[in-house]
Symmetry: C2
Subunit: 501 residues, 2 copies
């Protein structure tokens, strides 16, 4: 028997169990490092009471004594007994659903019941990081067919809780990502809410990018709303821009992301299931999916864009969600700013009609808003653009965003980042393309999104001419070290800006 000790380590989605090496080597347990172990608490009468599983790490003197079991934070929370409680430990078999993942790796199909079993184990933190990686890569590499993808999506939806806005069309919009800047959501939501639509938008924080919509909106307002406050905000204003992670809409996705992020790979099945399940769980009835197409975007051929769009449509239809696909051209960032604060500034400039507002961000937002207005029949066909522009240019959208900010809880203005430097052109020319991946890497090295004021101002964009020595972009960083990392990267990658004839 061991006594429970709480070890204050946040191991994210993986439960970790810490045992003193001597306790194991004295042969009491028959365990090896990285084995999966069951930790069982005994009630007063000796009957097993509560149990968790975790991955074993051996440790030495200071952390746990020989008669103690240490648990990482999430494991401690899930076991939910007091420190000092008497515990037993034993080798655990992997969750039975791991066998299904292995079958998938071997090329077999997964059924709805398999996805239910796998995702149920995933949300209960029964999968190790290695097993999570196996599942994500099995789906990525052995391709899910459309039926599997639908089953996967339904199983995702069933793991979370759903929002509901009864009796009206509820619109939503999602971009598959990959394009720096591109903060259209924060413009389109107030336009559509100003036009009388209901748009309770839930967004993610950055996964592999320098800013997600939730990060940029988080510069202006509280985004961790929770269910009740979100209902209140939408009731009052018609819209919101909230962080989906606070709403438990897709708990399975929240766990899978902990391995997808460090993998840095795009797994299409995962993306479609993640997006459609979140939209459905957030109560949407109509969703517009923006698929940027370009040489350095996630999707690089028109054929792939259309295939992906068809997949979105098939899965959305199966879960009862109307979906509209917009394939948009992308030869570089949309807007000037990259990083939470700098993107928020672009949004405010567009809404305020400032002369410095980036035209491309304005026009893309109007285009997407017009598509939604027409899809739900809020305007006559081909009248969407006129209506959206009217909402924007009249100042109605700007007022609506401020209403939403007030309702969500405004933030104090964020100071600009103190360390800045320009990246200068080494040659003259006309910019043909700005590499989205390079810009994302550069902004992340500058500290975005963890430092919300860090990022880039992209000063030369496709179509612009530049003279040798003129600035291509301005880096904003919170420390000299971050500024140096980013500048080094920019100097080593001069082809982020590609010049045409």
């Amino acid at each position: 028997m061991f006594r429970l000790r709480r070890i204050g380590i946040d191991t994210q989605a993986e439960h970790v169990v810490f045992l003193h090496r001597n306790a194991v080597e004295k042969g009491r347990l028959g365990l090896k490092p990285l084995d999966r172990v069951r930790v069982i608490s005994a009630s007063e009468e000796g009957a097993p009471e509560r149990e968790i599983q975790g991955i074993l790490n051996f440790c030495y003197d200071e952390l746990v004594a020989e008669d103690e079991i240490g648990l990482s934070e999430s494991a401690f929370r899930d076991l939910d007994v007091l420190e000092g409680t008497l515990l037993q430990a034993a080798l655990a078999a992997p969750p039975e659903s791991v066998a299904r993942v292995r079958d998938k790796l071997g090329g077999s199909r997964l059924e709805r019941s398999d996805f239910d079993a796998i995702l149920s184990d995933v949300v209960h933190h029964r999968y190790s990081k290695v097993e999570l990686s196996m599942f994500v890569l099995a789906c990525a590499l052995q391709r899910l067919d459309v039926e599997e993808l639908i089953d996967f999506t339904k199983a995702m939806i069933d793991r979370g809780t759903q929002l509901s806005f009864p009796g009206r069309p509820v619109v939503d919009k999602h971009c598959i990502g990959g394009i720096p800047g591109n903060r259209t959501t924060m413009i389109l939501v107030p336009i559509l809410a100003a036009c009388g639509l209901t748009i309770p938008k839930t967004s993610s924080r950055a996964i592999t990018s320098p800013a997600g919509t939730a990060d940029s909106m988080g510069v202006l307002a509280d985004v961790a709303l929770g269910r009740e406050r979100m209902y209140e905000v939408v009731e009052r204003t018609g819209g919101c821009i909230a962080w989906g992670g606070a709403l438990d809409l897709a708990p399975a996705d929240d766990v899978l992301i902990t391995v997808e992020r460090p993998m840095g790979i795009d797994t299409e099945a995962q993306m479609v299931a993640s997006i459609i399940s979140k939209k459905k769980a957030a109560g949407a009835t109509h969703t517009l999916i923006d698929i940027p197409l370009g040489d350095t975007a996630k999707v690089t051929s028109r054929q792939r864009a259309h295939q992906l769009g068809a997949t979105f449509e098939a899965v959305a239809r199966a879960v009862g969600l109307e979906v509209e696909i917009a394939v948009t051209e992308a030869n570089g960032p949309v807007g000037i700013g990259v990083g939470p604060r700098l993107e928020a500034l672009d949004v405010l400039a567009v809404l305020d009609g400032s002369p410095e507002a980036p035209i491309d961000l304005r026009e893309k937002s109007l285009f997407l808003a017009s598509r939604i207005l027409e899809t739900v029949g809020a305007v006559a066909p081909s009248q969407g653009y006129v209506r959206a522009r009217e909402a924007l240019d009249s100042g109605a959208a700007a007022r609506k965003l401020h209403e939403i900010i007030e309702a969500q809880g405004p933030k104090a203005p964020l100071s600009p980042a103190p360390f800045r430097a320009e990246v200068a052109a080494v040659d003259a020319g006309r910019v043909a393309l700005v590499d989205c991946r390079g810009i994302n890497s550069l902004a992340k090295l500058a500290g975005a999104p963890a430092h919300p004021a860090a990022g880039l101002r992209v000063l030369r964009r496709p179509g612009d001419g530049v003279e040798r020595g003129e600035p291509l972009c301005e880096i904003h960083a919170q420390s000299q070290a971050h500024l140096s990392f980013a500048l080094d990267y920019a100097n080593q990658h001069p082809d982020i800006w590609r010049f045409g004839s």
Copy 2:
């Protein structure tokens, strides 16, 4: 700046860096949990001095203070500076070779230089568990072609150190595994050494099985020999049965195994590269590869067995190793015992000519020994079996094993496991097949190999008749809890023993 604190946690191949959450949230660093971080020590003059990278875990009060950086054991060892040393931390880019792994996941080929870069980062602990999983699964699922497999194998060999026994044929033998018991190596090595061959055998500990050869031999003698002692033992006796892990023959493989083991999948490329590189590194000139074929073996069709054999031959040839393939039938365990001690008892019974010795283990060992004797020309063609049997039945092989045990360092006899129970047949019948995977799981639940005396005695094997209520096997365990786990599993899986007509 932070002060270094040693955190006594063995995280195996992954470096883990611990930072207090407040230190990160105060915005000093711009880091998220599971980010990869560089930890840099500054010399007296302020110039960077030593650096490691690791995966970030956040933690709370007790473990590290806000001005401390904690390092897991391997990270602490690799950074190699004193506790209290001043350190800086910053976001790190993934190793550049991870991009090659991602390319492979996307379907491209890997070149020799890619494998060199990847495995070099792997042995220096620069890959996280998720990245290691990506590499293993990329090789498993996107299939390496033979040229890639050869490059992979050569890159593995180049990462480790090589043994050398100049001027004579050096023979070796390897089984691809999956068959419980099957401890032929411990019989064949003394037979061949008694016949005058040089056989410096390096074996692994169990990865996913209840016992590896190194575990069973470890019951009788020291197996962690190190290079110099291994040379001495082979010089004196002509053979040895040593644990390969003590010899740094395949350090990349040692790291990859930390994710392969919990995956529990067989990755063929990994297996071929691992086996051939270790044989080459161990100085072998001739190797026999045993590929067991059966419905519950790793290889279930004769065609696959021949394909796999051809792959072994192609890769071996490319690195200058003569290889001979033996496809052997397997309808269940080979021998009676499963688990380190119980398998060692079978080996001693065969060598001693005991009437209880399992015939199948004896005959398989003689067959494999005869193939090797003929392959290297130690006997006239077709005279191998006679020569091997003579070495066995004369007692020469038994004397040779005791010579080897004496030279390696004998162990005190291991007591039998104190807790035992029989699994009884629920029906009468004739055993057609014993499920190798089921037997392996059962023996592992009983505590093997961590408890070397734990395991099974398989009392009814293919061809045997059994009456209802008669014992099918006897479980040996070191604790009542392990005995119960194993019995529960046996009761839930009555089809481990399958009956024929």
